[in-house]
Amino acid sequence: AQRVTQPEKLLSVFKGAPVELKCNYSYSGSPELFWYVQYSRQRLQLLLRHISRESIKGFTADLNKGETSFHLKKPFAQEEDSAMYYCALSGRFGNNRLAFGKGNQVVVIP
């Protein structure tokens, strides 16, 4: 079975401080990992995916298969980063349905 764990529900950081959102997964095969973000009064949208190996809005995430982790990081938080963040996994189920974690609420304090 596939499972995504995001241990911290709420994370408050000061503007300019580093942000790290932890994500651990359980899956027997080779998963695809994603981070989705939901800003206030907006729809859920893709932030980044591991296969792209890119930085979006200053965020990066590295897939660590040994630790089964896909932590999201940003060196300097901005106020506009305040949002709900979800880690998600897509496995080889025969389709690309997503298994989500419970999410992290990030609040950036000015």
């Binding site: 695809e32 729809r43 998600a88």
Partner: protein, 115 residues
């Protein structure tokens, strides 16, 4: 439209009533997903369509839940004899093809409240 459209945005129903939730995916998108998001939780998979074929309905919580996509575009999620535990946000998502790493595009969701 440019994105996934869901209607209604809010639905209030009495326990025992039937409800129907609509999803208009992005034009041309082959894959369509329904998710259920309870308060304080991440979205949970309900069902998946590839064009008009429902290939996976393993996430539907009971036989009161039924989904269709008869022409391979618009989809409807129907819940019969609603119960209070059905209260949640129902999200629809679509993606262009069937490749594993394609991102999904989400709608705003329908917030369903069962009284």
């Amino acid at each position: 439209g440019a994105g996934v459209s869901q209607s209604p945005r809010y639905k209030v129903a009495k326990r025992g009533q039937d409800v129907a939730l609509r999803c208009d995916p992005i034009s041309g998108h082959v894959s369509l997903f329904w998710y259920q998001q309870a308060l304080g939780q991440g979205p949970e998979f309900l069902t998946y369509f590839q064009n008009e074929a429902q290939l996976d309905k393993s996430g539907l919580p009971s036989d009161r839940f039924f989904a269709e996509r008869p022409e391979g575009s618009v989809s409807t999620l129907k819940i019969q004899r609603t119960q209070q535990e059905d209260s949640a946000v129902y999200l629809c998502a679509s993606s262009p093809g069937t490749v594993q790493n394609q991102p999904q595009h989400f709608g705003d969701g329908t917030r369903l409240s069962i009284l």
